[in-house]
Amino acid sequence: MAANVTPGLTPFLKSLKATPVESSIEHFISLLKRRQIRNSRPCAIATTQLLLRVVAEFKGRDVNKLLQRIRHVGQRLTAAQPREMAVGNIVRRVLGLIREVAEDDDADTSMSDAGFNSPSPANDGPHHDSLKRPALSSSISTFSPLRHGATLPAEPTGLHHSESSAGTESTEPHHRPNLFTSHTSYAPMHGSLLNIFQHGEFPGSSASTPPGYHSPTGKATPLMSQSFANLADSGPKKEKDLKAEVVEGIRELLDELDQVDDQIAAYALDHIHSNEIILTHTASTTVQKFLLTAARKRKFTVVHAEAYPNDSDDTHATVLDGRKTAGEADADADERFKPLTAAGITVILIPDSAVFAIMSRVNKVILATHTVLANGGLVAAAGARTIAKAAKMHQTPVVVVSGVYKLSPVYPFDVEELIEYGDAGKVADYDDGDFVDKVDVVNPLYDYVPADLVDLYITNLGGHAPSYLYRIVADHYRVEDINL
């Protein structure tokens, strides 16, 4: 249908290969601004693909330049549409990925340089890399909370310094002095390595001076030369490796985005019992797949609130045909799935006003989300707050299903700024000029649901209490990337 003509995710992805990076970025920015790519998933996919291109096109050898470049792109993207937090999340993930790769390299080089305390004498240069790499990809998507004992992820000082020295915008606020003071509490291996690194390169430089205050040409110069020397040491193959690894990491991220719904759906049977009455809201691929997976084994009833006026068309399409309306670029094949009714599940469509009335018979509420915030609250389609509250009043558990990519390190100090307002014409027709003229018509698209109304989060990593989410955030994003 019109999908080929309408700008959206699919045409953008198609155009990505053919157009130069810079114009792709601009294209994506305008798509974001015009809301032609919207909702977390399309945004996340588009961002990942775009960043993949950016990394692939990146022509430099310096990790920090690459970080800088990604960060810069990320800033532009998030500025274009700050409320699509998936964009920022993906940028942060990619930044974290690059850091990870760079750290591994640094650790490797410093290890081989220092020549002691190495776990085995066999690891040397690129060979050691190839041994260690496989662990990386999985650690990106499924960080173990045990990996970083401290709240702040490990961060090698050398990298940090060289980054701030090489950076063109050295006034970024994220360089916190306390990062340095806390590094002594790191895991033994890291600590010893870092100590070696630090003591070898600049003795005592970090004790009192925050790194951000280093002048680009001052003390850090030896470090830069050192890092370049490192790169030179390991030769061009190593540099290529780094980029290739980052690209591979981003591909992993894409895979994660691709599989996230299925991964979440795999938990369905742990949460849905037979003959349950489940209430859900709006059209969400994640929720539909979750329910469909459960429907293969169990019979239950789904009460579907339609989220009129913003998402009711999508909801109807989901209920009827198992896909969202083709108005957006979601028309691609993998968005399509069987409607629940075809799986033998009774679906009851209700208007949003009937939520309270029917809640007393509902066993479980399963909500989709737009963004999950670090405090365990979430931003979801308008009406979610009402549903969650009604569920709370009826002691009905509220389960939120969300991919980890929707998890944002943003803390909602001001809830209002997270809420986007939509077309008032959907609430009251503009044809009705008289009415629209005199009456203030509001149409918020999102609701903020506080953490205490949520009982459980199910992500692709499993089920979590809302109070645990900060930990997952800490695992997935680097502290220095939180403010882009």
């Binding site: 009833t301 009827l320 469509l349 208007p351 006003s353 509250k389 609430v427 149409n443 918020p444």
Partner: protein, 502 residues
């Protein structure tokens, strides 16, 4: 008997009751096949009930006088069902045994199978009409189909489909009532008060044009033989509101008390003037009082939130405006009726600052609000508010933010009934209305026929369009009535006092 009835009607004498159960017995097995996999307790119960009814009917059918041809037809139908779902064979068999009896009953009352109005004529007053004799099989099929679309939890609330035409109405039904019924079923006359007043006015003309047949007295004949068909007709158009039930009860009481020695003309003029007084005292004057009291609760700078449309809330707001208070109004609305839109429109035209949003945005709307005023369909005796679906949502959100929720409600809407949830008692409106998106008038026939057919084709898909919900008493800070302000817990007391005196 007729009192408050949002339920499927209970025909007032025993004969139709049996036909009613028979009608039910014919249906549940029909419902069963598609739903066999997930039998809820309610369904099981329903089935058991149907079985029982069928048995009873079979016992009654001592003389198998039913025409041979018809049962055959029926059996054929059931056989096809049996092959569809062996699990319910037994039930079907039972129903089959009862079939003869059903036929008999159908014949006697004439219209159980007729499309819309079914057992309405009842009362033995109606004869069969050729128009109602229609193709039984087709109608039944339709019924089966529509049963699949019924939400099991609310199965008990699906009565007859609403009547949208005067076809097949009892011949006694007065033209004014005929018109009113159609207006009600298409929401032209909507709202508890409006419907009550309109009904009473229609009854006035019914009474005016009534002449007592020879050999009986007005007090004996009017209620049971002349008013009842009118009421039944109205009920077939849309279930009666609590206020209508209360008014009807009052009117019947009044008629019964008429001294047979009073000449008919005098009695009739007495009745009509009493109706006028009732409307004036219980509704018009009560509204003025309530508006007066409630508007005193509004102060400068308030942001008053209201849900949907209540005539008393509107009067209250206007009254407060007249008193020179400066405040804002937030109207929260919902599909499918969009009553709030009318309210917002008229308030805006009257110079109010009005903000309008839908129920999905209710959580945002309550943020600005300082007070919540809602109207009522009825106040239950356990202090709960029975009102337009969505009111509970708004009250809950307001309660969460510690906003006072003030209910404006005339005492004519008080009922001695109690309610705990919104499921036992409610009114299920046609689900088509949900799809009309408010652009086409519900019942206007246009609808989205194409869409609807698409919806109908889908198995397992149901649309639920309930009209009311029950707001817990703890969300309600105050009930403003013409007798003053009460906590919700005082509703039963006030109801008792005034139903005794009136």
């Amino acid at each position: 008997m007729h009192i408050p009835s949002t339920e499927p009607p209970d025909p007032p004498n025993p004969k139709p009751t049996t036909t009613h159960t028979n009608g039910a017995s014919a249906n549940p097995p029909a419902t069963a096949p598609p739903e066999t996999p997930q039998l809820s307790g309610a369904e099981l119960k329903k089935r058991a009930k149907a079985e029982k009814a069928a048995k009873r009917a079979a016992e009654k059918a001592a003389k198998p006088s039913a025409p041979a041809q018809q049962p055959q037809q029926k059996d054929g139908r059931q056989k096809s069902k049996e092959s569809k779902a062996p699990a319910v064979q037994q039930v079907n068999g039972e129903a089959g045994r009862g079939a003869g009896a059903q036929q008999q009953h159908h014949k006697r009352t004439g219209s159980v199978n007729a499309a819309s109005l079914a057992q309405r004529p009842a009362l033995g007053a109606t004869k069969r009409r050729p128009s109602q004799g229609g193709p039984v099989k087709e109608v039944e099929k339709k019924k089966v189909e529509s049963k699949q679309r019924e939400v099991a939890l609310f199965g008990h609330l699906y009565g007859q489909p609403r009547r949208h035409s005067i076809e097949g109405a009892a011949k006694e039904v007065h033209p004014a009532v005929l018109a009113l019924g159609l207006q009600m079923s298409s929401y032209v006359v909507c709202g508890s008060n409006a419907r009550c007043v309109a009904m009473l006015l229609a009854f006035k003309s019914v009474i005016e044009s009534y002449t007592t047949p020879p050999g009986t007295s007005l007090a004996r004949h009017l209620t049971s033989h002349h008013l009842s068909p009118q009421i039944d007709y109205l009920r077939s158009c849309r279930p009666l509101s609590i206020s209508m039930g209360n008014a009807i009860r009052w009117l019947k009481d009044l008629i019964v008390k008429i001294d047979p020695s009073v000449p008919e003309n005098e009695a009739k003029s007495d009745l009509t003037s009493s109706i006028d007084t009732f409307i004036r005292e219980r509704i018009t004057a009560a509204d003025v009082m309530i508006a007066e009291i409630a508007s005193s609760k509004i102060v400068d700078g308030d942001v008053v939130l209201t849900y949907a449309k209540s005539s008393i809330v509107e009067k209250t707001l206007r009254q407060a405006q007249k008193q020179g208070k400066r405040f804002r109004v937030v109207v929260v609305d919902s599909k499918p009726l969009f009553e709030g839109r009318q309210l917002a429109r008229s308030l805006a035209a009257a110079g109010f600052t009005v903000q309008y949003s839908l129920i999905t945005a209710a959580a945002h709307a309550v943020k600005d609000a300082t007070k919540v005023f809602v109207g009522a369909h009825a106040m239950m005796s356990n202090g709960r508010l029975y009102s337009r679906v969505g009111t509970a949502v708004v009250a809950m959100l307001a309660h969460e933010r510690d906003l006072p929720v003030i209910v404006c409600c005339e005492s004519v809407k008080f009922t001695e009934r109690v309610a705990l949830d919104s499921i036992v008692n409610n009114e299920v409106a046609p689900s088509e209305e949900l799809l009309s998106e408010g652009k086409v008038l519900p019942g206007g026939g246009l609808g989205r026929e194409k869409d609807m057919s698409k919806w109908r084709e889908k198995d397992n898909l149901q649309l639920l369009n309930i009209m009311f919900d029950v707001t817990p008493a703890e969300y309600i800070k105050m009930v403003v009535t013409e007798h003053g302000c009460l906590p919700p817990s005082s509703v039963p007391v006030v109801h008792r006092i005034f139903s005794e005196t009136v």
